[in-house]
């Protein structure tokens, strides 16, 4: 499945766009996505370990399966407030 990934702040800045698409196997997990991103986007390599993955607006553990059609986003360490 092809999953659009929303990007914010440093992730958007590093890749120069606000969304990327990643192809994953069905039943892939957030951890699988993290590995795929590291391979496809070396510019994110140093920040990926600090980035949380959100699936349908909730933080996902690396073991969480990404459902087809889910809204997925990379959440770098937050700095609101």
């Amino acid at each position: 499945m092809t999953v659009p990934i929303k990007l914010f702040a440093i992730a958007r800045q590093r890749l120069g766009r606000d969304q990327v698409e990643v192809t994953l196997n069905d039943f892939a997990t957030a951890g699988d996505l993290r590995r795929a991103l590291a391979e496809q986007f070396p510019a994110l390599a140093d920040v990926l370990p600090h980035i949380r993955i959100a699936v349908n607006s909730s933080y996902a553990a690396d073991s969480t399966v990404i459902p087809a059609g889910a809204e997925v986003a990379l959440i770098p360490p937050v700095s609101g407030g």
Binding site: K6, F8, A9, I10, Q13, D46, V47, H50, A54, S57, S58, Y59, E71, A73, I75, P76, P77, V78, S79, G80, G81
Partner: protein
């Protein structure tokens, strides 16, 4: 009540939202744009968020605060976009029958928002450079 806004924050409007005859205490927290961070001078800030998730998270935190403390009203407003020095980026107002709950809930809300809500700030330094602020990531 949760709000994300591009407009300046009006503290008196937020206080009005949490006013109640059932409250014996109202606590208001404002986060404001600071000029110096570790000796480095800030010219302005820009905030962005993941709107749908930020709203969902803020609503979740309000619900959790209401479970932890007997609150009458809660109002959380976060500013987005460009902020000049001294402007408020966030306002949190809580009302409760007694002051301890209002103080504790207000502190817990701002501390937890800073950990969990997908909002980011970019420092526009006085030297003309800009950088996203990501706690734990150096040289970002």
């Amino acid at each position: 009540m949760i709000s994300l806004t591009q407009s300046p924050i009006d503290p008196s409007a937020i206080l009005a939202q949490v006013a109640s005859n059932g409250a014996g205490a109202v606590v208001l927290f404002l986060g404001t744009t600071r000029e110096f961070t570790k000796g480095r001078q800030t010219a302005s800030l820009d905030y962005e968020c993941y709107p749908q998730m930020a709203e969902a998270k803020l609503a979740e935190l309000e619900a959790q605060a209401r479970e932890k403390w007997p609150l009458v009203h809660v109002s959380i407003v976060h500013r987005l976009g460009h902020l000049e020095l001294g402007e408020a980026s966030i306002a949190i107002a809580v009302s409760s029958p007694h002051r301890q709950a209002a103080f504790e809930a207000g502190k817990w809300l701002i501390d937890t928002i800073k950990e969990d809500v997908p909002i980011w700030k970019q420092e526009n330094w006085a030297d003309g450079t800009s950088e996203w602020v990501h706690p734990g990531i150096t040289g970002s």
